[in-house]
Symmetry: C2
């Protein structure tokens, strides 16, 4: 009984780690199998509880193939640092990665509408309150897929911290070069009037809290 | 004749764009098919001319499966900016992406040795001149794969520049938030003597030329 509780606790912690990775990245690699070969495409995605949402053009052949039941896989990788060991073999990268495996189902109507808003909010948090809502024409042009994050159909991996202990010469420098994503000064589109202030959603990128 | 020459020129330009994307990214998503389902893993990789090299543990089942002839696919994505349109539907990301499809062959001896050095140099340029070379034990523990970048087995896509022209209200701000990778101050491993200077390879990350 105690063992089962510990395992349940551990599963809960691990799922929280998975969600943290999925929520930290913006783009993943979506994969399926087409004519017996792997087929991949970069994709924005978003998560609500144990559901992933992805979208593409409703004319996209491979996505329709997935919606019709072909197996799917979303892979997400964040690189957090260059791990510099005292030798080449142990040098590597610090990273967080997640893979969710399963099938994807096309969703419609309210669920599709809400998923599109979620995907916009992932890209530009707060933007959906600043501009008009999706139109029904936009909704019709978009294929929205849902993947369930079920027990046993995902993997999360994290490498963090310094390189392994030196095997040769402790006087050789070893350590980590941290890597992060930096956001530059927003560049207005050519038709935007000079001096128009950036909206709060865009300003938040330049000054992340 | 003129048409053929133009097409050859265009193919050459496009291949140069592919190589630029492959050389700019550090990590890709390697995909294969296992039991009829997509199987993916993040991987460091390197390119020499029209060859990609990847590596993993020589005990890794999926890589051995690929070395035995299973189809393979390397997907690379770089996100360069958040594209903020005047509406949610046209908002997106600026990116460079590449997919190389094909099969991978295990390589040995000198070719494997040189590929491992290439992969180290991709991770930490200049490091291979600062530390000892690979040992034969390390080489034996590593599975090195080569993928040929043949004509017609790759795709490169680039989205750049501002969002599409506004469809609703030109007084709504629109533009791009540039994204780049930033390298932080190197963090020495706990056993490194205080004040030991970082080697030139590591210093180059903090002060990229």
């Amino acid at each position: 009984m105690e063992r089962i509780r510990r395992e349940a606790d551990r599963a809960k912690t691990e799922r929280a780690e998975l969600y943290a990775i999925l929520d930290a990245a913006l783009v993943g690699t979506f994969a399926t199998v087409l004519d017996g070969r792997p087929w991949t495409v970069p994709m924005l995605y978003g998560r609500v509880d144990d559901r992933l949402y992805l979208h593409g053009s409703s004319g996209a052949g491979a996505l329709r193939h997935v919606a019709a039941g072909a197996p799917a896989n979303l892979a997400v990788t964040l690189i957090d640092g260059i791990v510099v060991a005292d030798n080449l073999f142990n040098s590597s990268a610090n990273y967080r990665s997640a893979v969710v495996r399963g099938n994807a189902e096309r969703v419609w109507a309210d669920e599709a509408y809400e998923a599109l808003t979620l995907l916009s909010e992932r890209l530009i948090p707060g933007r959906s309150a600043e501009v008009r809502p999706h139109t029904s024409k936009e909704l019709a042009a978009t294929l929205v897929l849902r993947m369930e994050i079920g027990d046993g159909n995902w993997t999360a991996k994290v490498r963090t911290g310094p390189p392994g202990e030196p095997d040769v010469d402790p006087t050789i420098w070893a350590g980590v070069v941290p890597m992060t994503t930096a956001y530059g000064t927003p560049v207005a589109a050519p038709w935007v009037a000079k001096g128009m202030p950036v909206p709060p959603s865009v300003a938040a990128y330049a000054d992340p809290s």
